[in-house]
């Protein structure tokens, strides 16, 4: 177990290394460079930035620049500085992470609470009316762009019916007001969950259908157990396992989806930070959010894999 754990952690390191190379290449490919943050727009072209360029090492070959960048990143957590306000990129991102995680966490939780029972019921009552409904819903969930469903929800529930606020995270800025927070969280989280729940429902259904065909389920039935016990106690346990890894696989898409939900609902998370940065072409911030997003995905996958190994005793760790 510990060996598997260590091996899995070691596997993540080259991955992060390659991600850092890709980020660096994209940053070099982007127009402008970090020295632009020091440019004074009033001085224009007459400003002499050679000192800054030398200090930042931008006159050196790319591989040395990369090593310098990586060293700053790993040792100091330095992702560069935003050219809008000169603040460290990492600081700007870190203050946005809780908002994103709150939104994502709530949505994923909702997706589990709604999607898994829906998938189970659809599998148990295969080819019933409910099953068809679940099928239609899960197909829709794959096909509706998240920003459009967000716009529609905003139009109906906030602008027309006025049930939910129009965006943002809170209205009460003086103190922490749980109801106010929940009121703001509800609509974005529900919209976000719309797509995630669809995949959960679909996977739960097919996973359970597969498990039901296994011999041990037939044995449980032959023992005379009630159908409820067979499904909930015997089949479900094994059918639930793939859902955990699925969550790991989905993380990149989940982070991406957050971009649009946050944008439409003015949710002050990482995704909105990235889009704001893209509009003004603040590449240091864009790359920073991407790097942090990727690191979170890698860590998420790591956790999902380890959880899977802990939950499923059948996993064999190959020696080679």
């Amino acid at each position: 177990m510990t060996i598997y754990f260590i091996k899995r952690v070691l596997q993540a390191i080259p991955l992060l290394f390659i991600i850092s190379i890709i980020s660096f290449i994209l940053m070099v490919a982007a127009p402008g460079d970090p020295a632009d943050a020091y440019r004074n727009p009033e001085l224009g072209a007459s400003q002499d930035l050679s000192g800054v360029i030398k200090h930042l090492g931008l006159d050196q070959p790319y591989h040395i620049q990369y090593l310098k960048w990586l060293k700053a990143l790993v040792l100091e957590g330095n992702l560069g500085y935003s050219f809008q306000d000169g603040r460290p990129v990492l600081e700007k991102i870190v203050e946005r992470i809780p908002a994103t995680l709150t939104l994502m966490g709530t949505a994923i939780l909702l997706a589990f609470i709604i999607g898994i029972p829906m998938g189970i019921y659809a599998a148990v009552k295969k080819n019933s009316l409910f099953d068809y409904f679940a099928l239609i819903y899960s197909n829709l969930g794959y096909s509706v762009p998240s920003f459009w469903i967000a716009l529609m929800a905003l139009l109906v529930f906030s602008l027309k019916l006025d049930i939910f606020p129009m965006g943002g995270m809170r209205e009460n800025y003086d103190s922490f007001d749980l109801m106010d927070r929940l009121h703001h969280l509800a609509l974005p989280a529900l919209v976000y969950a719309f797509g995630v729940t669809a995949t959960k429902t679909r996977f739960m259904r097919s996973s359970l259908l597969e498990v039901i065909q296994q011999d041990y389920v037939r044995t449980a039935r032959a023992k005379g157990l009630s159908e409820k016990k067979v499904i909930l106690k015997h089949a479900l346990r094994n059918a639930l396992l793939p859902i955990i890894t699925l969550l790991g696989f989905q993380l990149p898409a989940l982070f991406g989806g957050a971009l649009f939900i946050e944008q439409v609902f003015a949710w002050p998370g990482m995704g909105r930070l990235a889009i704001e940065a893209i509009y003004v072409r603040d590449y240091q911030v864009i790359m920073g959010t991407t790097m942090i997003g990727a690191i979170m995905v890698v860590l998420g996958n790591l956790i999902a894999d380890i959880l899977y190994a802990v939950v499923d005793p059948r996993i064999q760790y190959s020696k080679n």
């Binding site: 080259p14 991955l15 390659i18 991600i19 890709i22 994209l26 490919a29 982007a30 127009p31 099928l135 197909n139 829709l140 794959y142 096909s143 509706v144 762009p145 998240s146 920003f147 459009w148 716009l151 529609m152 905003l154 139009l155 602008l159 027309k160 129009m166 679909r202 097919s206 993380l251 990149p252 898409a253 989940l254 982070f255 991406g256 989806g257 971009l259 649009f260 944008q263 439409v264 990235a274 889009i275 893209i278 072409r281 590449y283 864009i286 790359m287 959010t289 991407t290 997003g293 990727a294 995905v297 890698v298 996958n301």
Partner: protein
């Protein structure tokens, strides 16, 4: 037959007379017969054909010129003259939606073709060489797919000057990892099968084994992957254009028609600007997803979800 035939094989197989009467069905007919059974997939095909026809015959179907803006007619609600209303610059939304089908569908399909080609070549190379080359190449794929999808999409789009072709390029750069991983996995698994062993035993080169034996067997699942990729591209293109990083006005695309609705006042006062292009995106993506699912079941009954 001038080659020496294997006497054992020839002696053992004796085709009984009555079995000769069975007609071997055309492969496509078999697939089509299985496909037909899936009602949802047939519905998907009908909806998709509708949009494809709309895209092809756009000039004859559009009631107005999509590129003509009449500022006196801006932001009109749906009426007989403008069934879907007009946008804030006075463009007829129905006509722009019809031409948008052209743009959105062709961008999605061309980007799919590019990412398939890149993915197949990359995956084949990786699977062909194996060993440490394969290891490094696949770690790169892992790294790219660990970067949140839309972040990567937006970054690459923001580096380039947005246009129709850069949109296609961005979608293909981001989209090739799926087919690459698939082909590589297929090569590794098919490589161990008996008929490939047999082909190798006859002295065929590794490359020709991949080309003549592995790839043809991977085509069926690849078709499914390609179909679903089109749906994904339609969604991604609309998302890019929605944020102004994809296809640029005045070229109509379903995504960029929605971008005005980011302003809450526009969304509230002129909801038709957001509703109609959005419905087209949903219906097209839905129909393609249904086709993909139907194809998956029809091409390989063993792959049932």
């Amino acid at each position: 037959m001038n080659q020496l035939s294997n006497p054992v094989v020839n002696n053992q197989i004796q085709v009984p007379e009555e079995e000769k009467e069975y007609k071997i069905e055309n492969r496509f007919l078999v697939i089509w017969r299985r496909y037909k059974k899936n009602k949802a997939a047939v519905l998907g095909l009908i909806i998709f054909s509708f949009f494809a026809l709309v895209a092809i015959f756009a000039p004859w179907l559009a009631p107005h010129d999509p590129y003509t803006y009449d500022l006196y007619d801006s932001s009109l609600p749906p009426s007989w003259d403008h069934p879907f209303g007009t946008d804030d610059l006075g463009g007829d939304i129905l006509s722009r939606v019809i031409y948008g089908a052209r743009v959105s569908l062709s961008v999605a399909i061309v980007a799919m073709l590019f990412s398939m080609v890149i993915g197949i070549i990359y995956g084949s190379i990786s699977g062909y060489f194996g060993g440490w080359i394969d290891n490094i190449m696949m770690r790169i794929v892992d790294a790219i797919s660990s970067i949140p999808y839309f972040f990567l999409l937006l970054i690459i789009a923001s580096i380039m000057v947005p246009s129709l072709w850069t949109t296609i390029l961005v979608l293909s750069i981001v989209g090739w990892t799926g087919p690459a991983r698939y082909i590589r996995g297929e090569i590794l698994s098919i490589r161990k099968r008996d008929y490939v062993e047999a082909a190798r035993a006859t002295g065929e080169k590794k490359f020709s084994v991949i080309f003549y034996h592995v790839l043809p067997n991977a085509i069926a699942p690849l078709t499914v992957l390609a179909t679903l990729d089109i749906a994904g591209n339609i969604l991604s293109e609309s998302a890019l254009s929605f944020l102004g990083l994809g296809i640029q006005v005045p070229t109509p695309s379903w995504g960029n028609m929605l971008s005005r609705s980011q302003e809450l006042t526009t969304l509230l006062d002129y909801p038709w600007m957001a509703i109609f292009p959005g419905i087209c995106i949903v219906l097209t993506a839905l129909s393609i997803n249904l086709i993909g699912d139907g194809l998956r079941d029809a091409l390989d009954p063993r792959m049932k979800r």
